[in-house]
């Protein structure tokens, strides 16, 4: 093992000559291909190893840290009884803060004490162990192979093709007993055609979400946007499932601004109705920009132009939001002309089937 030379000493004694180099060369031999590992470096003593006072100080610090932990636990218990969550936001916050700080001190005290103890007081001389290759020796391998051969021999499976086949088949088939009912039942009725229908139908009243108030055309001013649902949504079998498909945005435009619609006569006096479910991955499209007639989905920023048949003007969606054909009934309330003419929401494999 070579010793480090010159390091940390006064460099003034150095000469430009490298005679003092510790390069290890074999005499009269070719230079080695690679450098040799110089072996372990010198051990640097810690302050506590040479100075008993520093050692004692570290010990006191460790004790103090454990004491902080004990105080933390006591503080936690005190806070539990003294500061109940109560009924106000402030009391809840205070309870959370006091309990949390007590817990944090209880834990950090122990942790820091243990680590400080290990770093300053425990023996810090590095030790080493030898490693062994992971591979088993050839003898062990041969014995392992022999053990398997012996076992196979004992099992009497060799040359019995039918037995092997029966074993493999039964093992392969039996998981069906668990998988079949699981897969059969887990998707309810597996009727994916439900994706294609909503509660909207001919004459279905358009009502406000969530109050259920029916709407007259005159209630909506130009430039405003209203979140609506079909009437009697709550009386359907699965209201949340139906609502997830049937949510609609009513927007009143100046009729002169309408560039195109998805169907002839689908709007009513400048009021257009579009599915609120984004055609990208289904987030509710909720941000309306009055000046540009743009609808923006806050999830992935697909942008639709409601004056132009809700065509995509930016973002990851590739289809317009489906338009709901609307009109007014005899009493002057807004109603749907029919259901949507295409499935709402994100695309799926069977969308057009």
């Amino acid at each position: 093992m070579s010793t480090p030379h010159g390091h940390g000493q006064d460099g003034g004694h150095e000469s430009p000559d490298f005679a003092g180099s510790d390069l290890v060369l074999r005499e009269g031999d070719a230079t080695p291909e690679k450098f040799q590992n110089p072996g372990f470096g010198p051990h640097r003593p810690r302050k506590g190893d040479v100075d008993p006072a520093a050692n004692k100080k570290s010990e006191r610090q460790v004790v103090a840290l454990f004491a902080i932990s004990i105080l933390g636990t006591i503080g936690f218990i005190a806070a539990y009884f003294a500061l109940r969550p109560g009924d106000t936001v402030t009391s809840m916050r205070n309870s959370n803060l006091a309990l949390g700080l007590g817990l944090a001190f209880a834990l950090l005290g122990i942790g820091l004490a243990a680590v400080h103890w290990a770093k300053t007081l425990m023996n810090d001389h590095e030790k080493f162990e030898h490693r062994h290759a992971q591979r088993s020796t050839d003898t062990v391998r041969a014995e392992a192979v022999q053990a398997l051969k012996d076992g196979a021999e004992d099992s009497a499976i060799g040359r019995r093709g039918l037995l092997k086949g029966a074993l493999v088949s039964s093992l392969a088939l039996f998981p069906l007993t668990i998988a079949l009912p699981l897969i059969g039942e887990v998707g309810e009725d597996w009727n994916i055609n439900k994706f294609k229908r909503t509660l909207w139908a001919r004459g279905k009243r358009i009502v406000l979400d969530p109050t259920g108030q029916p709407i007259r055309a005159a209630d909506i001013t130009i430039g405003s946007v209203v979140h609506v649902i079909p009437e009697d949504l709550d009386e359907s079998e699965a209201p949340l499932d139906e609502k997830a498909k049937a949510i609609v945005l009513l927007i009143r435009l100046d009729p002169r601004d309408i560039v195109s619609e998805q169907g002839e006569g689908w709007s009513y006096d400048g009021i257009v109705a579009f599915s609120k479910v984004c055609t990208h991955v289904g987030c509710p499209v909720a941000l309306y920009e009055q000046q540009t007639h743009h609808l923006l989905c806050p999830c992935h920023q697909s942008t639709f132009d409601v004056a132009d048949g809700a065509k995509v003007v930016f973002g990851p969606a590739s289809r317009p939001l489906p338009q709901l054909p609307i009109t007014v009934d005899d009493e002057g309330y807004l109603v749907a002309q029919s259901d949507f003419h295409e499935p709402v929401g994100p695309s799926f494999w069977e969308r057009l089937r």
């Binding site: 070579s2 122990i110 030790k127 309810e188 994100p346």
Partner: protein, 592 residues
């Protein structure tokens, strides 16, 4: 047990009695003898995996607490409690019990916040631990299997985080589930049925919360526990890797014994990790679901962010342009394929994760190295790997940023469309630029190492010779300093046998070999090799005279393939003048 001559104390006698009882029934003495003083190397970067383990234990402790009060049910109830804003509002029992847990159970909010922060730290520590393993080559033989175990743990941690995030059934997580539904539906052929499989019928249905609960508290943590056990078993079996340094070889492991050093350090570290998470839970609010409200399919909040580890998926979805990416195959009533969802949400993460999982095997194939490695690489000594890993990280990072493009837009008053376009371009340019720059930095650092080994430290001492020439004195490195910089192997591209044998017959398998050689060249063509004793001897022989610059010329020869700009003057580390390297580019280094 005690070897002292004095009579053993009562405590010592009790300990000896217990030990004897256990050993007679389990033979535990053998295990204690084997493991008590087992050596583990020390380095701060080895703590990253420990953070993952300890944050997982924190998750188990706080999670058990939460299960006592949380009700995983989607039955609708009306809320009545101390939170006035939601009084009388209809919500699922899951959401109502989350409110009760937060407001009425003492310590409940603390445990919820600890659980959520611990989850974020759990995934973050897994990712950083994986970066450490990647950049130091700790995945090399014999640890490839453990790399895969770790990779699966990463995936499971994402599953655990996602399933837990959705449990409170608030508006944010509900919209997260809705996005999941949209993504699942885009999968060709089985997509719609997969959606029914997950939600027990149509979205949102009545099953998802109880199902996610079972996944979150039983299935995923059970698998994580089992794989952590396997992960740690393999660490003990292989013995921990160590950084290069004096005395450390592939045949030994240098460090400190498990008992007492790591019992104290690692045990203490658990309390520190838990303590810091507790501090975060006490002082930093996270996921205040009472401000969002219960899930309803209609409302959505702008500027909402998922947990950080899901941001890359969100970013990927946001970046993909939609126009013209949806196709119908098989006529007007054919099947719909929407690439605008499939590519960003399934293909992009699939490719990123596959590259991560398979990298060790590709590298081993390109290196043609069958030896065991227990001494870690310094990242600079593997320029391709370091550059590749950095590029992968950059791609991930750009997607994460893209997932926050709306916040960037509102905070910096920028157009969201412009930001999206910048990220679209950056997603392709950024990783490439990162690769090139990182590789250059690695090669430059290697050259610096060579420089230092050949010429030593600058001392700042100027000597004047009788001839009037000035030079700066360089102090050579001592053996330990030098070893760190010359210990690694020079990995060179694989050589393959020629396409035709001596009789001109084309040999089978040549095409495969040629591909392998190409990949190998991609990895190792550009390289800077470590200084050999002969080079150092030569540098010293020349440097012993009036200046040390000639050694530098020699060094440039050794850098063939490192694409040092030939003919350009290179500084020679404080020599009295600059010496232009002689251009001798060629394949001579490999023929040696």
């Amino acid at each position: 047990m005690s070897t002292t001559t004095s009579a053993p104390s009562r405590g010592a006698r009790a300990a000896a009695g217990t030990a004897d009882y256990l050993d007679q029934r389990t033979g535990i003495g053998t295990a204690v003898k084997e493991f008590a003083r087992k050596i583990f190397p020390d380095h701060w970067s080895f703590l990253l995996g420990e953070i993952a383990l300890y944050s997982f234990i924190t998750l188990l402790i706080s999670g058990v607490f939460l299960t006592m009060f949380f009700v995983p049910s989607m039955t609708e109830v009306h809320y009545h409690g101390p939170w006035p804003a939601l009084d009388g509002v209809e919500m699922s029992e899951a959401f109502a019990s989350t409110l009760r847990l937060s407001f009425e159970v003492s310590g409940g909010l603390l445990m919820r916040q600890i659980h959520h922060w611990a989850a974020l730290i759990f995934v973050a520590s897994i990712v950083t631990h994986m970066m450490r393993v990647f950049f130091t080559g700790a995945f090399r033989k014999p640890r490839e299997i453990n790399w895969l175990v770790g990779f699966i743990l990463l995936i499971l941690s994402l599953a655990a985080g996602f399933s837990g995030y959705s449990l409170p059934d608030d508006v944010l997580s509900g919209n997260g589930l809705r996005i999941t539904d949209g993504v699942v539906r885009s999968i060709p052929i089985i997509g719609s049925y997969l959606s029914y499989f997950i939600f027990g019928g149509e979205f949102p249905g009545h099953d998802i919360i109880p199902r996610l609960f079972t996944v979150h508290i039983l299935l995923v943590p059970g698998l994580i526990l089992a794989l952590i056990a396997l992960h740690l078993f393999l660490v003990v079996l292989h013995k921990h890797t160590q950084y290069p340094g004096s005395g450390r070889t592939n045949a030994n492991v240098v460090g400190y014994p498990l008992f007492p050093i790591y019992v104290a350090k690692a045990g203490g570290y658990f309390f520190i990790v838990f303590g810091i998470i507790a501090l975060m839970g006490a002082t930093m609010s996270i996921n205040p679901v009472w401000n969002y409200g219960p899930y309803d399919p209609s409302p959505v909040s702008a500027g909402a962010q998922p947990d950080w580890y899901m941001l890359f998926l969100e970013g990927s979805l946001r970046l993909m342009p939609g126009g013209g990416t949806e196709f119908v195959i098989g006529g007007d009533n054919g099947f719909t394929v929407s690439l605008n969802v499939l590519v960003p949400a399934v293909v992009v993460p699939g490719v990123l994760f596959m590259l991560l999982a398979l990298y060790p095997f590709v590298e081993a194939w390109a290196t043609g190295d069958k030896r065991e490695h227990h001494v870690l690489d310094r990242p600079r000594n593997r320029p391709f790997r370091t550059a590749f890993g950095s590029a992968l990280l950059m791609a991930f990072f750009i997607l994460v940023l893209a997932g926050s493009n709306d916040l960037i837009a509102t905070h910096f008053h920028l157009s969201i469309n412009d930001i999206t376009w910048v990220f679209r371009i950056l997603f392709f340019v950024g990783p490439w630029a990162t690769f090139v720059i990182t590789k250059r930095i690695c090669l430059a650092l290697q050259r610096k190492d060579r420089e230092l080994v050949l010429h030593g430290h600058e001392t700042g001492q100027i000597v004047r010779f009788a001839s009037g020439e000035y030079i700066e004195v360089h102090k050579p490195l001592d053996a330990h300093e030098r070893w760190l910089r010359v210990q690694h192997d020079a990995v060179r591209p694989l050589e393959i046998e020629p396409a035709e044998d001596s009789r001109g017959v084309r040999r089978p398998g040549y095409r495969k070999d040629r591909l392998r050689q190409r990949v190998s060249r991609m990895f190792y063509e550009d390289r800077v090799e470590p200084v050999t004793p002969a080079e150092l001897e030569s540098a010293h022989a020349h440097g012993g005279g009036d200046h040390d610059s000639l050694g530098s010329v020699h060094q440039e020869h050794a850098q063939v393939g490192a694409s040092a700009p030939a003919g350009e003057p290179a500084p020679t580390g404080g020599g009295s003048r600059l010496v232009a390297p002689v251009d001798e580019t060629g394949d001579d280094v490999r023929k040696k």
